[in-house]
């Protein structure tokens, strides 16, 4: 499934859990997305003060 096909499916009334969740994500906040993807930043220097204990 490519981007355009995904968009078309997203516009249809969602029935499966996965698609319902994905539709709900169109109302997420910027901060929620930043927090959920924090660990994914791999080409960025890790500052010592951000280190986990």
């Amino acid at each position: 499934m490519n981007m355009q096909e995904f968009y078309q499916r997203l516009s249809i009334k969602p029935e499966q859990d996965r698609q319902r969740h994905l539709t709900g994500l169109t109302r997420a906040s910027r901060i929620q997305i930043l927090e959920a993807t924090r660990e994914g930043t791999w080409l960025l220097w890790w500052k010592p003060e951000q280190a986990k204990s």
Binding site: I33, A36, T37, L43
Partner: protein, 304 residues
Amino acid sequence: MDYFSRIVQDFSVLPHVQAWEDAQRMFQYAASGKPNHWLPPNRSCEAVGGKSGQAVPAVMATACAHIAILLVDDMLDSDPRGEYHHIGAPATANLACAFQAAALQAIANIEKGTAAIISLNEMFLSTTFGQFLDVQAPGDESAYWRTTQIKSSPFFGAALQVGALAGGGTLETANQLKKVGCLYGEMIQIQDDMHDSMEIPANPDWVQGRSPLPILFASLVDHPEQKRFVELNGRITEPGALQEAQEILIRCGAISYCADRLIQKHQEAKEVLNKTPLTNPTPVSSLLEEVIAPVDNLLKACEL
């Protein structure tokens, strides 16, 4: 085992770089941040039945490789946070060469050292070409996935592969774990793109006209706010433009598509892992669960 302390110690006595102040300072600084992306070799080492101490050379090789890639990536991205602002681009390029060579040196003396060196070297070659493609900014979805698979996947694929080799795994098993790592790398890149596109102030991806997955989606998919998004993207540094563009990214389904692809890649990685004969698959399967969990939680939090 505290891998970070151990590899700082090992790096401090590595031939040629032990007296190189900039290299030592940089390694110590990066290690003090305890980056998670240095540790996948430990997972694959344990998965093939190796002891945690056996993973040390592979963790150090991964750490050195990561630093080498970062040093160059910052210059390619003109990232204002890059080391090259402090010591200059020529010296930074030289240091990147040193870290790349140190990665190979770190792994050379394990029992399957030749296979590990080949793995890392192939990764470096692929990543540098991927960086080149990324700078050209992929213009469509197929180019995006190609670039991701060449630029981001190989690092994580090699990390799991060399960890398995260091732990005494067979070449076949190590190759299977490389496939898992490559899919994991794609997941990391998708998350990276999601994160970068939501940052304030505008990430270099916006400013330099790059096309991470969410921006590519909002620019190319036929949706009601496509024209407005493209217009905002062309003047992203003007007041209010970034916030409005980010709101469109979320509303139009670009972030949803990223999450959908993450779920798909996660499923594919689990299927490959399930077919891989391992002494203990849990360390690798938990790595996959850890990368998808925050996104799962986000999806549940946003349920209708």
